[in-house]
Symmetry: C2
């Protein structure tokens, strides 16, 4: 069973974190043929943290988890912090396949999206 | 003359900030019929700051500036910090038209982009 986990930064503003959960729910509906579960996790300032959110995927039966770093630029969080938390979990759960996707800001589609939004 | 300003968070990692400048350059090429200048500014940890980057647009001749808050969720930065810096500039430059666009994470296109990246 395959799961998708959206990892966001996390905010002190609860509505901002809720927005990430809402996004995960939208993706769950759109990607239900590929993923039996779509969850959300946060690097800091919000729950669940990355380890707990990965564990939640496993508790729902995931044997393979695609991790989407939902960040815009390859700063310290993308380069160091998120991989560190993912690796800590992976070492404790060697039977779970974990695939970290490209962070969203680094995708070609982001430029197209900005062209659409700013050029419209 | 119309300018577009991409406002990002800013990172201690210089390569991350350079990524935003590169993005602005790509958008400048793609949106050159609409914008005579596309610049980048940062909320914190990088230069130019928001006020300086808006001033740079004016120095390049902009009389109208579209501001793109390049953030993924409506946290404190989107709701409070970016508008505060933009308003401070706007009050000092009442003849410059400033239009704050929807932050990128709140656009419908972001869900489509994630579906493309994660579902591919």
């Amino acid at each position: 069973m395959r799961a998708l986990l959206i990892i966001a930064h996390g905010s002190r503003r609860e509505a901002s974190n809720e927005e990430i959960h809402t996004l995960a729910n939208k993706l769950s509906l759109r990607l239900n043929e590929k993923y039996a579960h779509v969850g959300a996790g946060f690097l800091e300032m919000a729950e669940p943290d990355i380890g707990t959110s990965l564990q939640n995927c496993v508790l729902k039966g995931a044997t393979s988890i695609d991790v989407m770093p939902y960040f815009l630029a390859a700063g310290r969080h993308v380069v160091t912090d998120v991989p560190a938390d993912v690796n800590t979990f992976a070492e404790l759960h060697p039977t779970v396949e974990i695939n970290v996707l490209p962070y969203i800001g680094g995708t070609d589609g982001m430029v197209d999206l900005l062209v659409d939004v700013c050029g419209g």
